[in-house]
Symmetry: C2
Subunit: 333 residues, 2 copies
C-alpha cells in the first residue's frame, strides 16, 4: 500500500484536522463525534442541510459544507456509515429553527443510521425530512445496498438544495428539490484500478492489467461487467448509453453533464471523457446546459470515472448558478 | 497502460476540445496552433499574461486562463515545449496594447522557445517581458533544466500577477510581482508512483512497491533520493525541511502554504499532508496566512505531492484574495 498517510486508524481524524486548518473561514470541525459544520452555523431561519457517509469520497461530503451548500457533514470511518449519535449531533448543531433536511445516499447502513437520528431529532422537537439519493443505474441491489446505489447525483442534490435553502425556502420545498434531482438524475461509473482501504492495505478487488470494470460502485462494489480496457470514447458509450436510456433522456432535453474522477484519474483524462460525452449527447439531440468536470465523489485512489446526467429546467439551472462557497465547490461569491 | 484516452497522439487535442466545450464562457481554444485564450481577449489597456509548457500538468496552464489570471496558455504535446510560433500567436491574440508578460517555467526548451517568441513579438511592436520561475529546491540542474526547475510557484505567480494585471498595473510592475514570487517561493515534490506518458505507454521510471522518490520533477526527472516509503508526517519533514531552510523561511514569517497533488493522489491524502505541514511550520514559528490544497500542477497520473511555500506580505495576500474566474481556480466572483 502506497499512500500519503500515517497510521491507517488515524486517516479520517487527520484528514478532518487538515480540512479544518485549511478552511477555518468556511467550516468548523468536531472530532468527537466527527462533524464538519458551516463556520457560521446555525443560520437562524434557514433550512439546514445535513449529509454524511463513509469517508474516502472526498471532497464529498465535508468539502461541500459552506454557504450555498451543506450546513453539516458527518464523516464515518473510511467506507463506514456515520453513527446515529453523530448525525443527531450534526442535526442539532445546525438547526436554525426552520427544520433540517437529511440527504442520504442509498446504502443500507446510512439509511438506518440517518433514520434513527431523524427519529431522535424529532423527539427533541426538530423538524427533519430525509431524502434518499439512488441514481446509479449500473446494478439493482449491491454489496451494501438494496435498490440503486447513491452516487454522483448526491453532489448535484447538495448544491441545488443548498441554493434553495439559501433563498429561504421552507423545508418541504427544499426536500422537493432533492426528490426532483433524484427523480431526474442518473449515473454510472467505471474503474481502471481498484481502491485500497487503509485498514485492509490491499486492493479491494483484483483487476487484470488489461481489464476494466464497468458499473463499479464507489466502494469497489462489483459492476455490470468486466471487460478489456477500451478507448475513452467507447467507455463513454458504455456509461452514457445506459444512463440516457434509463430515464430516458430525449432529444430536446437540456442536461447538467457531470464527469467525475474517482480519485486517481488526472484532469487531462476527464476532459477527454467530457469531450466525447458532449458529442455523444449532441448526437442524440441532448443539449448540455451546465457541466461539472472534476473529482468530486471519489473512491480513495481508484482510477476511473463516472458520468451523471441531470435533466435541467430553468429553475434547476438558476439554482445551479447561485453562489456557493465551500472547500470543494466554489463560485459566484 | 491504463488511461481514459483514445489514440495517444490525440490526447492533447481532445483534452483541449473538452476544455473548450466545458468552459466556453471563460475560454476559447485554438487547435492550430494549440492555444487557450480568455474568452474576452484581448482586454484593451490591460497587461496580458501568457504562459505555457508541455501538457500533462493540468489544470496548469490552460485551466488557469480567465479573469484574474492568465490571458492565454500555450500547451505543447505531453511534456513537450510549445513552439515559438504558437507562443507568438498567443501573444498577439491577447495583446491589449499594454504589453505582454511571459511566465516561463525553467525548462531549457521552454526558455528557448519563449525567448524566440518574445523577439518575434517585439519585432511586431508588442512590448514583452519574460520572467522565469525556478522554485524547485530538490536538485540543481536536471534532465531538461539548467538550474532549478520551475514547479508549484508557477501556479501562485500566475494567480498573483493576474490580479496585479487586473488592477491595471503597468507591465514592469506586473513583471516585478512575478520576480518577487520567484524570489520568495520554494518547492519540493515526491512520488509514490511514476507517471506514464501516452506515447511511451510504460512508466517513465521504475519505483519498487516499497519505494518513493524524494525531490521528483514533474516529468518524472530524478530527485534527490530514493527511499523506503514512510509515513506522511515524515514525508512532510523531508519536503518542507529543505524548502524552509533554502530561502530561509524564519520564525515570524507569514506564508502561503500550497500542498499540491501530482495527479493520482486523492484529496483525503493531501489534507493529511496539509495538517502536518501546518504543524511543522507552527513548530518553527511560521504562520500560514493563506493556503491552497489540491491538484493544480500535475504529472499525468503520478501519485505523490509537492509542497510550495511563498513568503507573504500584505500586498501578496491582497492579490491572492482578489477574484479569479478560471476553469481550475475560482473565487470571489
Amino acid at each position: 500500500m502506497k499512500k500519503l498517510i500515517n497510521a491507517p486508524e488515524d486517516v479520517v481524524r487527520e484528514e478532518l484536522e487538515g480540512l479544518a486548518l485549511a478552511h477555518a473561514g468556511m467550516v468548523r470541525v468536531s472530532l468527537d463525534p466527527y462533524m464538519v459544520v458551516r463556520a457560521d452555523a446555525p443560520v437562524l431561519g434557514k433550512v439546514a442541510l445535513v449529509s454524511g457517509g463513509g469517508s474516502g469520497h472526498e471532497p464529498m461530503h465535508g468539502g461541500f459544507v459552506g454557504a450555498g451548500m451543506l450546513d453539516a457533514a458527518c464523516p464515518g470511518e473510511v467506507f463506514t456509515s456515520p453513527t446515529p449519535d453523530q448525525i443527531l449531533a450534526a442535526t442539532k448543531a445546525v438547526d436554525g429553527g426552520a427544520g433540517v433536511l437529511h440527504i442520504v445516499k442509498n446504502y443500507t447502513g446510512d439509511i438506518l443510521n440517518f433514520e434513527m437520528a431523524a427519529e431522535l431529532a424529532r423527539e427533541e422537537g426538530i423538524e427533519v425530512e430525509a431524502v434518499v439519493v439512488a441514481d446509479d443505474v449500473a446494478v439493482r441491489d449491491s454489496l451494501y445496498t438494496a435498490g440503486r446505489r447513491g452516487v454522483g447525483a448526491t453532489v448535484l442534490a447538495e448544491k441545488l438544495c443548498g441554493a434553495a435553502a439559501a433563498e429561504g425556502r421552507p423545508l418541504k420545498e427544499v426536500a422537493d428539490v432533492c426528490r426532483h434531482v433524484n427523480d431526474f438524475a442518473r449515473s454510472m461509473g467505471m474503474a481502471l484500478t481498484s481502491c485500497v482501504t487503509p485498514s485492509a492495505g490491499r486492493p479491494t478487488f483484483d483487476l487484470g492489467e488489461d481489464e476494466m470494470e464497468i458499473g463499479i460502485g464507489i466502494h469497489g462494489e462489483p459492476g455490470r461487467e468486466r471487460m478489456k480496457v477500451a478507448p475513452a470514447d467507447d467507455i463513454v458509450a458504455l456509461l452514457a448509453g445506459p444512463v440516457v436510456e434509463d430515464l430516458p433522456f430525449r432529444a430536446g432535453d437540456s442536461v447538467l453533464a457531470f464527469v467525475n474522477g474517482l480519485g486517481g484519474t488526472p484532469l487531462i483524462e476527464l476532459y477527454i471523457v467530457y469531450r466525447e460525452l458532449h458529442r455523444f449527447l449532441a448526437g442524440r439531440g441532448i443539449l448540455v446546459g451546465r457541466n461539472l468536470v472534476g473529482s468530486y465523489i471519489t473512491s480513495l485512489e481508484m482510477a476511473g470515472c463516472s458520468i451523471t446526467l441531470l435533466k435541467l429546467d430553468d429553475e434547476l439551472a438558476r439554482l445551479w448558478d447561485a453562489p456557493v462557497v465551500t472547500p470543494g465547490l466554489r463560485w459566484g461569491a
